[in-house]
């Protein structure tokens, strides 16, 4: 089987695994990067969300062969020091409870803000409705996304 080359969190990466192996398990088991979580294995819950070429993707249903030549960002690559505006807002709003779904929630929120600088509640519903949180942190997630949008605009303005 041919090795797959892609860019992972800004660095070149090569893996030699079965082509059908989902990106999720390549990240977690082959590369030992466990910030991306397994939740359902069927792209139903959002816990495994990463960015592929900037788009949010369910890594549990993304074969590694489809990643060749692409750019992947995981929660570990979002910022070196938890200073992405979404992470800052998440800390400010104290969002996580068990925390297991939060990598996926955060990656989904970052992708939303990349596309929509001032998301409405309806935009948030649309983008996040397939990201399940069993602890029920939805209120805090919504609040944090609005706050992250503010922080991001302020950062943009400062540049």
């Amino acid at each position: 089987m041919p090795a797959v080359k892609f860019t992972l969190n800004g660095k070149p990466q090569t893996v030699d695994v079965p082509p059908a192996m989902p990106l999720l398990w390549v990240l977690r088991d082959t590369l030992g990067m466990t910030g991306t979580k397994f939740g359902c294995g069927m792209a139903l819950c959002g816990a495994c969300t990463v960015h592929v070429n900037g788009q949010p993707m369910r890594s549990c249903a993304t074969p590694i062969s489809s990643i060749a030549g692409k750019t992947v960002t995981t929660i570990e690559g979002l910022s070196p020091d938890s200073t992405n505006p979404v992470q800052l807002a998440w800390i400010e709003a104290d969002v996580p409870q068990c925390g297991y779904c939060q990598s996926g929630q955060i990656m989904t929120a970052v992708a939303l803000l990349a596309k929509t600088a001032r998301p409405t509640d309806a935009d948030i519903d649309e983008a996040l409705r397939n990201s399940i949180c069993r602890c029920g942190t939805y209120d805090e997630i919504r609040r944090a996304i609005h706050r992250a949008a503010e922080l991001k605009r302020a950062q943009g303005g400062a540049k």
């Binding site: 079965p18 030992g32 816990a47 998440w90 104290d94 409870q97 297991y100 939060q102 955060i106 029920g136």
Partner: protein
């Protein structure tokens, strides 16, 4: 207040308490500390202090989202007088110093630690003060602890905890310590941010499923889809040919496939050929279970509560009301599917697990390996949700069995389907009520027969919420039938109250309607002797604007619960749009006694409501041929962000002993919603989940 210390609980033990996989840690101010903290000196089982002035708090419970790491740290830090920014926390192993049964069930962490952890903090503080007094050659009374240091009140001298740690660790624990008057609390009672948040926003928090060991294999187990079924024989030869698969081993619960990654193990499992002996449960279905319940409640059952003479009061009542309620089996579906890492060696065993039952996990590993308890180590990891499922140790035992059989460290992962189809479910239940009203429409008699599968010994889990109602009704008779169709059942967030509060609070509403009473007014009258519930009721009613007009199509419903030592009243506002229930607003008033972290209380009330609302609107596990018919979130849906109601939480100020909070709000939300649906539509919902056809 002066409290005698139980000296046995402070037995000095110089052996290092093993932590989890420590890979650097974050201080509470978010800055990253050195990868390895300075050797911390043990003052007692809960408090270690390093020469670097860092304070390590050992959290003997476990964290599944309920905020235990933060709230227990607050209790320790309050009396320890340490700098909140200099603490770090660690989960210790299983140790008798932490009690006979370490675990997190029954929303008991604060209740069981409220005094003991403040004492532990105070004891460590006194040892640090004593060490400073000895250095200065002054009496202890001339010294005071503040902000991670001891101050000499007769001068300006000050010694940091770090500089005192070694001397303090050699001192005996004081025989008694004075605890603060709650009015002097600096930390307890103040809204406090969670200590685990920084690690949970950057992927660095290690859950059980994230543990990695050198040479570890990844496994999944093929289990019989029918509960209780056993392997007759199997052929693993094709599975062994699957790329990445390293081994196939049989264990008591099925056949394990081990590979160099989880996905290959799952692929290998698909290639197994197994002949099962499905056993007697193969003939069981949801239909046969319901029929059994319905048949059984025709007969008198075991009496769980008898007060007055229910039968006679019913016979003489001016009006009689009858109703049958049902609830389904429910899965826990924590976001982190079950998993466990185990490494069995000839002379020792280590387990890394997200578990609610650390001592139970240890006992399970001891049972399977035959090792002495002191040679088995449990490493507690963050849980991606527990909800009662992780109080069972079946998934831990499996990993130990597999590692023992394969002779290598193993991470066993359950797929979502495994998790949903091999759960220990919230039991299905069936309740037949008959109530009587007097000539003025006030309740006179409350009788119920409940059929379900009790567990944990006795009938408590079958009838709690129906039998122990706080309402002052003269004649009460509650009976139950234990029916065991062979479906595994166990604790599910709020346990028996999760279904019985729906039954009881719905039926009370039916009595109100039949008697022409306002549902809130009826509760107010019947709670005259329950001041804490009554105060919560009044607060919720005022905040919700009970009695004030609502937009057309909306209805309001009230329900209360009285579980885990807390008193909770919820008022929901709902409407129905083309058969779909919309919950707009939930007002929740809670008296949970003395509050440690108000932010944590608010989080848990919201969390419990979302959990209960998921079940009320969507939840249902059904059985056919002894198998669970649901497998993943498309068949077992849960509440989503666009369905989240506006939740307002109001805490009743209280100096009573702390109650639990993790399970306080789950019971009341379903009946608050269905009672509101009755107000909005005139339709009485008597089964869960709520179905469009029951509202049409």
């Amino acid at each position: 207040m002066s409290v005698q210390i139980n000296r046995r609980s402070f037995l000095r033990n110089t052996a290092a308490v093993a932590g989890g996989l420590l890979v650097g840690f974050r201080l509470t101010d978010g800055s990253l500390a050195a990868d390895t903290p300075a050797a911390a000196l043990k003052l007692n089982a809960f408090v270690h202090v390093g020469a670097d002035d860092l304070v390590t708090l050992f959290i003997h419970k476990a964290e599944m989202g309920q905020g235990t790491v933060t709230s227990l740290s607050m209790l320790l830090a309050e009396e320890l007088e340490c700098d909140w920014k200099k603490i770090r926390t660690e989960f210790p192993g299983v140790n008798r110093e932490y009690g006979p049964n370490q675990g997190v069930v029954g929303s008991a962490s604060i209740r069981s630690s409220w005094e003991s952890l403040r004492r532990a903090g105070a004891s460590a503080r006194e040892m640090l003060i004593q060490a400073a007094a000895q250095k200065w050659g002054v009496d202890k009374s001339a010294c005071r602890a503040e902000n991670n240091a001891v101050v000499n009140t007769s001068g300006n001298a000050r010694l940091t905890y770090g500089s005192l740690a070694e001397a303090a660790s050699k001192l005996p624990a004081p025989a008694s310590v004075a605890l603060k008057d709650p009015k002097d609390f600096r930390i307890v009672g103040k809204p406090t941010k969670r200590l685990d948040t920084p690690a949970k926003v950057n992927g660095s928090a290690i859950f059980g499923i994230d543990v990695q060991l050198p040479g570890m294999l990844y496994g999944v187990v093929a289990r019989c889809r029918v509960f209780g079924g056993k392997v007759l024989h199997f052929d693993g030869s094709k599975a062994r040919l699957t790329p990445g698969v390293k081994n196939v081993v049989q264990i008591p619960s099925g056949v394990a496939v081990l590979a160099d990654n989880t996905w290959s193990a799952i692929e290998g499992r698909k290639a197994l050929s197994i002949m099962w002996n499905e056993g007697p449960v193969a003939s069981v279905s949801s239909r046969t279970i319901s029929q059994t319940f319905a048949d059984r409640v025709q007969q008198p059952g075991a009496v769980a509560r008898k007060q007055g003479d229910g039968e006679a009061a019913l016979a003489g009542a001016a009006k009689k009301v009858e109703a049958v309620y049902t609830t389904p089996y429910l899965a826990h579906a924590p976001m982190e599917p079950l998993n466990c890492v185990a490494h069995v060696r000839p002379d020792s065993c280590e387990v890394w697990a997200s578990t609610q039952g650390q001592t139970a996990a240890l006992n399970e590993a001891v049972r399977i390996t035959g090792l002495k308890p002191e040679n088995v180590k449990i490493h507690t990891q963050y849980m991606g949700g527990g909800f009662g499922r992780r109080a069972r140790s079946d998934y831990i035992g499996e990993a130990v069995e597999v590692s023992k059989a394969a002779g290598v460290p193993v991470k066993l992962t359950w797929t979502r389907e495994d998790d949903m189809q091999q759960d220990w479910y919230r039991p299905a239940s069936y309740a037949r009520f008959a109530g009587g009203l007097d000539a003025d429409g006030w309740p006179l008699a409350w009788t119920a027969r409940v059929a379900c599968t009790p567990f944990g010994g006795g009938s408590r889990t079958a009838v709690e919420g129906v039998a122990d109602i706080a309402y002052a009704i003269p004649h009460i008779q509650v009976e139950h039938h234990a029916v065991d169709p062979g479906i595994p059942v166990s604790y599910w967030r709020s346990v028996g109250y999760s279904q019985n509060t729906f039954f009881a609070e719905s039926f009370l509403d039916e009595l109100a309607a039949a008697g022409g009473k306002d549902p809130l007014e009826l509760r107010r009258r019947l709670l005259a002797n329950s001041p804490r519930l009554l105060a919560a009721l009044e607060l919720a009613a005022a905040k919700a604007g009970w009695g004030k007009p609502l937009p057309p199509g909306r209805g309001r419903g009230v329900a209360l619960s009285n579980n885990i030592g807390s008193h909770t009243v919820q008022i929901a506002e709902v409407s129905v749009d083309r058969g779909k229930v919309r919950v707009h607003r939930v007002v929740c008033a809670v008296d949970c006694g003395h509050v440690v972290n108000p932010s944590g209380v608010e989080q848990q009330i919201k969390s419990g409501i979302v959990f209960g609302l998921s079940a009320a609107l969507k939840g249902g596990i059904t059985i056919d041929g002894g198998r669970v018919q649901q497998g993943n979130f498309h068949q077992y849906d849960v509440l989503r962000i666009d369905e989240m109601p506006a939740v307002e939480v109001y805490i009743v100020p209280s100096q009573n002993a702390p109650g639990g909070i993790g399970e306080a709000s789950t019971p009341g939300i379903a009946p608050a919603v269905t009672n509101a649906l009755f107000a909005a539509t005139g339709k009485r919902v008597r089964r869960l989940p709520i179905r469009p056809e029951d509202l049409g």
